[in-house]
């Protein structure tokens, strides 16, 4: 299979799906995270538990949900509960292993912005949708995976607005705040894979997707990128992964 057989977005979804393993409880944001989580459940992790903020525990959709409240999420769930309950009884106490989030802007320390682009909240350059469930997903899941298309505009030194706290300004700020979960431990983009340095918590490039150079990643990063000593190359999507991913997308 050559690089032309799949898109960068497909590689990103496949890489993100692979990060999930069976039996994990995964709080799924809509869009890229939902695509990856559903792909994982339909490939190597059939007993992955998908939780959506619309109030579904254990959804098992056979197509990608069109929205966070797609009827298929309720119809295939083990339990359907109210929105207050999903946040209070299920997310807040730390019952969820992985929070799977997207981002409009992500910074060097894994902080997420989905609120405003620009320095002035009252007069933003771009008004984004806002927080949704993300701040508490980022705070209370055991760990957070972020899936985001990477560019100098989306991958910035410091987000314009901290909608969801990642590692703050690093060096243990998250622990000092008393947040329960480990925060972003993995970031997957259309170019590669990043993990926080264990001490400084700065995101470090640890993997590139096939055909992507470290230089290309650097070009698409808005800060002076640190690169791991060993940069792995992500195995290309298998034909099975691609087939399932495309079938999921086609069905919806």
């Amino acid at each position: 299979m050559t690089a032309h057989d799949y898109t960068a977005d497909e590689m990103m979804s496949v890489a993100a799906a692979r990060a999930l393993s069976g039996g994990q409880r995964c709080f799924v944001g809509i869009g890229l995270p939902s695509t990856a989580a559903n792909l994982a459940r339909r490939t190597h992790a059939p007993d992955l538990v998908l939780i959506y903020e619309s109030g579904t525990l254990g959804s098992k959709p056979d197509r990608l949900p069109a929205s966070i409240g797609d009827g298929i999420l309720a119809e295939t769930a083990d339990a359907v509960i109210s929105v207050p309950e999903v946040f209070n009884y299920w997310l807040q106490p730390g019952r969820i292993d992985v929070g799977f989030l997207g981002a409009a802007q992500l910074d060097k320390f894994g902080n997420i912005n989905t609120t405003v682009i620009g320095d002035d909240y009252a007069n933003p350059k771009v008004r984004l949708p806002g927080a949704g469930g993300a701040p508490e997903i980022a705070a209370n899941c055991h760990e957070v995976y972020v899936v985001v298309r990477q560019s100098k505009r989306s991958f910035v030194d410091q987000v314009d607005f901290v909608t969801s706290f990642g590692h703050g300004r690093g060096n243990g700020e998250r622990d000092r705040l008393g947040l329960r979960g480990a925060g972003p431990t993995l970031v997957i983009t259309d170019l590669g894979v990043f993990r926080p340095d264990p001490d400084s918590h700065e995101l470090v490039l640890t993997g590139v997707h096939p055909g992507v150079t470290v230089e290309q990643v650097r070009e698409a990063t808005g800060w002076e990128l640190r690169v791991a000593d060993d940069v792995a190359t992500t195995p290309a999507p298998t034909s099975d992964e691609l087939a399932v991913l495309r079938a999921l997308k086609e069905a919806s």
Partner: protein, 272 residues
């Protein structure tokens, strides 16, 4: 006990200029027809409350009904941005829109506090984020037993809550199922409430996952088949994804939007 009313009478009776109004519905069972009736009746200066303002709030905002929005996520789900919302926030068109912005967990708990007759709710939320810097309804609170600091948010008690449900009986008992979001809390938190329903039936057959709001907890019930369109009512209709996509170009263009509002005002807006 809830009275049955027409949608136009219900909106006229319950929604007044300057009111705090919550039309709730988490993607499912969104009371869109009620929103259009508010546009038709030309309400002004509303404070609109909703966890997930989507296109019906884009429409209300674009039509100049609102002066403030209290929310946690605003967008056209699966499509993109709310352009009328952006235009109001960024350019004050057609009127400036003040915003009060929370997270879902915070908004859900504000409704819970409202429904519970408490002035505030406590959660583990907002820590480390910039939201408390821009929203003054987020404050720290200390546990009197452990000394731990948590976050408090004030109750929301709208003047009126409007939700859509599958059905009601003739006594005004309301039944809904599927994703029920924060609808019960919104109705119980509000001083007045309207439930639009797909149909009024003689008897409410129990349904798995069903929830009943007793008649005495609701003010008015209006039979509005398809009243959630383009969202859906599980067991009655499917989500009209094409409508959401079609909204994007209308919403992007003030002229297109104004023509759309004209159609709503004249009653021409085709529902399905």
């Amino acid at each position: 006990m809830a009275d049955l009313a027409s949608l136009s009478d219900a909106i006229a009776e319950l929604v007044h200029d300057g009111d705090v109004v919550a039309l709730e519905g988490f993607t499912h069972l969104i009371p869109v027809a009620a929103g259009h009736e508010i546009i038709r009746q030309g309400r002004r200066d509303l404070t609109l409350v909703r966890m997930t303002p989507d296109i019906v709030y884009d429409q209300l905002i674009g039509a100049g009904c609102a002066r403030k929005l209290i929310f946690s996520w605003g967008g056209n789900p699966g499509v993109g941005s709310l352009h009328r919302f952006r235009d109001a926030v960024q350019h004050g068109w057609p009127v400036p829109l003040e915003i009060e912005e929370h997270s879902h967990a915070g908004m859900a708990n504000r409704y819970v506090a409202g429904a519970s007759g408490l002035p505030f709710a406590v959660l583990r939320g907002y820590l480390g984020t910039d939201l408390p810097n821009v929203t003054d309804t987020i404050k720290p609170i200390t546990c009197p037993f452990t000394g731990e600091t948590l976050t408090a948010v004030p109750a929301i008690n709208p003047d009126v809550a409007i939700v859509h449900a599958q059905r009601a009986d003739r006594a005004g008992n309301v039944q809904m199922w599927g994703l029920v979001g924060v609808q019960k809390e919104a109705v119980l938190a509000a001083r007045g409430s309207l439930v639009t329903v797909e149909e009024v039936v003689d008897e409410l057959e129990p349904v798995p996952g069903g929830m009943v709001l007793p008649s005495w907890a609701v003010d008015l019930v209006a039979e509005v088949p398809g009243g959630a369109h383009p969202s859906y009512a599980q067991g009655y209709s499917e989500r009209d994804n094409a409508y959401y996509a079609a909204w994007d170009p209308i919403s992007r263009d003030r002229g297109e939007f104004e023509r759309w509002v004209e159609r709503v005002r004249s009653g021409d807006e085709v529902r399905t």
